[in-house]
C-alpha cells in the first residue's frame, strides 16, 4: 500500500499542478497549442533524461550531457553548412543529422571508456568532459553559431497534429522502458547500481555494460541535439548550458536514487513533465524565470524528502 502511494506521489503532484493551472488560467493553459508547446519543449530534455535514468540506476552520473548536446549540434551544423559556407541542401541536412547523432554516440563511448578503463568515478570523468566538450564547441566556429535556416523538420513539423519531436521522444521512451525492463542489459544496470561487487561475482560484465549505458546516453543526446538545433534553426555552442541539472532533477523527482539501483522510465517522464508544466505555469501566471528556479529547487528537495520519509516508514512498518 505504502509502496503504491509512494509511486503515485510524483504523478499526483503532476496532476495537481495541471489541475491548478487549468483552474487559474483556463483560457491560455487548456489549449491544444499550449499543451503541444509544453510537450514539444519537453521532448529533447526528456530524450536525454531517458539515458540519464539508466546512468543513475547504474549508480553513476553524467554531467556532460549539456556540453555533449552543444558539440553534437555544432558538428551537425558544420557538416550541413560545410563550415558556414552554404545553405544546407536536403542531402547535407541528412548527412549532418547523422554526423551529429554519431558525435553524441562517440562522446558517450568516450565517457564510458574513461570511466571503466581508468576506473574513475563517473562524476569526475563527466565533469572533465563537460568542460572539454563545451570548449571544443566554442572552438569549432570561433564561438559563433552555424545557421541552418531550412532545417525545420524535427523542430516544427507534425504528423497528424502531433509534433515530430514528441513522436521521437515517445519512441525513445518506449525503447528505454523496454531496455530497462525486458533486456539483460537493463537488468544488469539495476544490479550494478544496487551492488556492483555482487553483480560482478554473479557473472555480470560490469565494464561492458557501463560502456553500453554511457554510449546509449550519448546516442540519445545526439538525437536530442538535432531536435534542439532544428527548434532554433541554428547550431549553438551555448546550447544545453546547465541542462544536466534539469535532467538530473527530473530523474530524481521521478523516484530514482543517486546511490543507484532504483529508478524507472515512467517516473522520469513524470519528473520531466512536472518541471515543464511548472515552467509553463509560472510563465502563464507571469512569475519571473528567476522565481521559477527557486520553485524548482524547492520541488527537488521536497520530492526527495517525501520519498525518503515514505521509504523509512515502509521499512519500520
Amino acid at each position: 500500500m505504502n509502496k503504491f502511494v509512494r509511486q503515485l506521489l510524483p504523478f499526483g503532484t503532476l496532476t495537481l499542478i495541471i489541475a491548478a493551472l487549468a483552474a487559474l488560467e483556463p483560457d491560455t493553459f487548456l489549449t491544444m497549442e499550449n499543451f503541444s508547446n509544453v510537450f514539444s519543449r519537453s521532448s529533447y530534455s526528456g530524450i536525454v533524461a531517458m539515458g540519464m535514468t539508466a546512468v543513475i540506476i547504474s549508480g553513476g552520473i553524467d554531467l556532460s550531457v549539456g556540453s555533449m548536446m552543444a558539440l553534437s549540434g555544432m558538428v551537425a551544423g558544420l557538416v550541413m553548412t560545410q563550415n558556414g559556407n552554404v545553405v544546407p541542401t536536403p542531402c547535407l541536412m541528412v548527412l549532418g543529422t547523422f554526423a551529429g547523432v554519431l558525435m553524441g554516440t562517440l562522446c558517450g563511448l568516450l565517457n564510458g571508456s574513461l570511466i571503466t578503463l581508468l576506473n574513475l568515478p563517473p562524476f569526475i570523468v563527466t565533469l572533465g568532459t563537460m568542460s572539454a566538450f563545451r570548449g571544443i564547441s566554442y572552438v569549432m566556429n570561433n564561438g559563433m553559431m552555424f545557421d541552418v535556416p531550412n532545417y525545420t523538420f524535427l523542430g516544427e513539423s507534425a504528423i497528424a497534429g502531433v509534433p515530430v519531436n514528441v513522436l521521437i521522444f515517445l519512441a525513445i521512451a518506449l525503447a528505454a522502458f523496454f531496455l530497462l525492463r525486458y533486456t539483460p542489459l537493463g537488468r544488469y544496470t539495476y544490479a550494478i547500481g544496487s551492488n556492483r561487487q555482487a553483480a560482478y561475482h554473479a557473472g555480470v560484465n560490469v565494464n561492458r555494460n557501463l560502456i553500453a549505458i554511457y554510449t546509449i546516453t550519448g546516442l540519445f543526446v545526439g538525437i536530442a541535439a538535432m531536435i534542439a538545433t532544428s527548434r532554433t534553426v541554428s547550431a549553438q555552442p551555448t546550447a544545453g548550458i546547465s541542462l544536466e541539472l534539469d535532467i538530473i532533477a527530473a530523474v530524481v523527482i521521478g523516484g530514482a536514487s543517486l546511490s543507484g539501483g532504483r529508478g524507472t522510465v515512467i517516473g522520469t517522464i513524470i519528473g520531466t513533465l512536472l518541471i515543464s508544466f511548472l515552467r509553463n505555469g509560472c510563465t502563464l501566471l507571469g512569475i519571473s524565470t528567476n522565481i521559477q528556479l527557486v520553485v524548482i529547487g524547492a520541488i527537488i528537495i521536497g520530492a526527495v524528502a517525501l520519498d525518503q520519509a515514505a521509504r523509512a516508514k515502509a521499512e519500520t512498518a
Binding site: R187, A191, A202, G203, A317
Partner: protein, 511 residues
C-alpha cells in the same frame, strides 16, 4: 578522566549489575519480546543465546536505549532507569559492541577511543594529540592490551578493532558490556585472545552480556546462559551444568539428533582437477580433485588462503600459475562470467558485499547469472522469470512472501538459500561454498547441510570452506587443510581427527 572500573564496580562485587524485569516489546503486529526478565551479576559473563529472530537483538537494543520497551523495568545497580536514547544508556554505564564494528576507520586508535571527549589542547577548539595518545596508552596498559594508540584503525586486524571497541567502552566507565557475536569474524587465535580479554574484564568486575551462535565458546566462557525463543525467555541456568545438546534443545525446542544429514551418496568419478594453482593473492601450488557427488571440506585459519583458492578458481583473482580442469578439459577462466559459463559457482563468504543485490527482488537475484542463458534470450519475460525463480526457490524452501519480495525482507538463512537457488538455476556442476553457515542460526545451518547433501546426491561436486571443524567433520567426505597459502593436508574425514586437522592448520603459526 579514566577512572578505574574496578573501583566503581567493587561495591557491587556480589551485587546485581543489571536487572531487566518483565520486558515486552512489539513492532506492529509482531510481539518481539514477551515478559522477559534477566539478571546479570557484576563480575560474570551472561550468555544470551537463541535462533535468529528470537529477540536477542531487540532485548539488547532496549538495554542500550535504542528502543523503548512497551512494558517492564531496567535496573542498573539497583537503581531504576528509563533510557530515552542511546546516550543516556551509555551514561548509565552500558556499552554495546555490535557485530559490525562502529569505528572511524581513518582515525587512530586513540582518536577512536576518545571520540567526543578529546583531551583539550592549550588553545581553544584544539585537541591535544599527545595527551590523547598517552591516555589511550595508559588505558590499554592497565588492561594489558597490546595495541599501538597511534595506529590507524584501517591498518588493524579485526581482532584489534574489537580491542579498540572494548577500550572505548572502558573509557566510558562501562559497568555493563554487551558483546554481539564478537567472534564471528575472528580467526581461532584472535578469538582465543578475545576470550582472555573477556575473562580479564570479568575479574575486573564488569558484567558482560555475551551473544553468540558458537555454543562451544559459550560453554567455555559463560557463567550463566539465558535462552530466548520466539521472544520468550525459555531457560536460564549456570553454564557449569549445561552442555551443547541441552542448549540446542532449549533453543529449537527439539533435540537435533539429525543435526547432520546421513551421507549415502555414491561418489562418482573425478569432475574437477585443480593443478598447481597459484595466484597474485598469495596462494601457491594448490592441487586437489573433487569428484561427482563428493563434498570436499576446506579447513584453515583465517588468512590461510582458503577464500583466495575459491577466488582464483572463480576468476576473481588473477592466476599466476596452474590450471583448473573440468571433465578433463582445461578451462580458460579470467572472470566470474567465464567461470559461470563453465559451470562453476561460488557462494561468497560475504553475503551482503559480494552476494546479494539486497534492494532488488528475490527473483532478480536468482536469475542474475542465468539471464544470458536460453529461456531469457533475447528478452526477459517477467511472468516466466517469476515462475522459474519461484520453482527453484521452493526447491530450496526459501521462505518469502513472493518471488518479487525484496531480498532485504528475508532473514539471513533465507538469503543464503536464495543464493544457493541462484546457482542451482545456473546449473553449476562445481559449487564452491565459502562459509555458508556464518551468522545463521542452528535451524538454518541444518538446512544448509541438508542442502549440500542434496546437491551432492544430484551429482554435483562441492568444495565446502568452513572455519567450524564440527561441521566439516559432520558433512565432508574429505578435508583439505590450508596454511599460509599452501595446501598442507588432504585427508579422508573418516581417517582423521579434529585435533590432527587443527594441528596441520596451526602448527607453524607463530604468535
Amino acid at each position: 578522566m579514566v577512572q578505574s572500573v574496578s573501583e566503581s564496580a567493587a561495591h557491587h562485587e556480589d551485587g546485581i549489575a543489571l536487572r531487566m524485569t518483565g520486558i515486552s516489546k512489539h513492532f506492529g503486529p509482531v510481539q518481539a519480546l514477551r515478559d522477559v526478565s534477566i539478571t546479570v551479576r557484576a563480575g560474570t559473563v551472561h550468555a544470551l543465546v537463541g535462533e535468529n529472530g528470537a529477540g536477542k537483538s531487540t532485548l539488547m537494543k532496549i538495554l542500550a536505549g535504542v528502543y523503548q520497551p512497551d512494558m517492564g523495568d531496567i535496573e542498573i545497580q539497583d537503581r531504576r532507569q528509563v533510557f530515552a536514547n542511546p546516550a543516556q544508556a551509555l551514561h548509565a554505564g552500558i556499552s554495546m559492541i555490535y557485530q559490525e564494528l562502529d569505528l572511524a576507520e581513518h582515525l587512530t586508535v586513540a582518536e577512536n577511543i576518545f571520540l567526543g571527549a578529546e583531551p583539550r589542547g592549550p588553545l581553544p577548539f584544539t585537541i591535544s594529540h599527545r595527551h590523547m595518545i598517552a591516555q589511550a596508552g595508559r588505558l590499554a596498559q592497565r588492561y594489558s592490551f597490546d595495541i599501538d594508540p597511534a595506529a590507524k584503525v584501517e591498518d588493524l586486524a579485526t581482532g584489534d578493532c574489537q580491542i579498540v571497541e572494548i577500550l572505548k567502552a572502558l573509557r566510558h566507565n562501562a559497568s555493563i558490556l554487551v558483546m554481539d557475536e564478537p567472534t564471528s569474524s575472528l580467526s581461532e587465535r584472535e578469538a582465543k585472545r578475545l576470550f582472555e580479554v573477556v575473562r580479564r574484564l570479568r575479574t575486573e568486575g564488569l558484567a558482560i552480556v555475551y551473544i553468540s551462535h558458537r555454543l562451544e565458546e559459550i560453554i567455555d566462557l559463560a557463567d550463566e546462559v539465558s535462552v530466548l525463543r520466539d521472544g520468550v525467555l525459555v531457560h536460564c541456568e549456570p553454564a557449569a551444568t549445561l552442555d551443547i545438546p541441552k542448549i540446542v534443545h532449549h533453543m529449537v525446542g527439539r533435540e537435533l539428533t539429525d543435526f547432520f544429514p546421513m551421507r549415502t551418496v555414491q561418489i562418482g568419478d573425478g569432475l574437477v582437477q585443480v593443478q598447481g594453482l597459484s595466484s597474485e593473492a598469495g596462494i601457491r601450488d594448490i592441487s586437489f580433485e573433487v569428484r561427482r557427488g563428493e563434498i570436499v571440506g576446506m579447513a584453515g585459519l583465517v588468512g590461510a588462503g582458503r577464500t583466495e583458492v575459491a577466488r582464483a578458481i572463480f576468476g576473481v583473482d588473477k592466476k599466476t600459475a596452474g590450471q583448473v580442469l573440468l571433465n578433463g578439459r582445461e578451462l580458460n577462466i579470467n572472470s566470474p562470467a567465464d567461470a559461470i559459463a563453465s559451470g562453476i559457482a561460488l557462494l561468497t563468504e560475504d553475503r551482503k558485499r559480494t552476494g546479494l543485490c539486497i534492494e532488488l527482488p528475490c527473483s532478480w537475484n536468482i536469475t542474475l547469472p542465468s539471464l544470458g542463458q536460453i529461456g531469457f534470450k533475447p528478452f526477459i519475460k517477467p511472468a516466466q522469470e517469476s515462475r522459474i525463480a519461484g520453482d527453484v526457490g521452493s526447491r530450496m524452501a526459501v521462505k518469502w512472501s513472493s518471488p518479487e519480495a525484496l531480498a532485504s525482507s528475508l532473514s539471513g538463512g533465507n538469503q543464503q538459500k536464495l543464493l544457493v537457488a541462484r546457482w542451482l538455476l545456473a546449473n553449476s556442476r562445481f559449487m564452491i561454498f565459502d562459509e555458508p553457515t556464518r551468522g545463521i542460526d542452528v535451524g538454518a545451518k541444518t538446512e544448509v547441510y541438508t542442502l549440500l547433501n542434496k546437491l551432492a546426491e544430484e551429482g554435483k561436486a562441492i568444495l565446502f570452506i568452513s572455519s567450524e571443524l564440527p561441521e566439516l567433520f559432520g558433512i565432508a567426505d574429505r578435508i583439505l587443510v590450508m596454511r599460509r597459502g599452501k595446501l598442507v593436508g588432504d585427508l579422508a574425514t573418516k581417517q582423521t581427527t579434529p585435533e590432527q586437522v587443527m594441528h596441520l592448520a596451526a602448527v607453524e603459526e607463530k604468535a
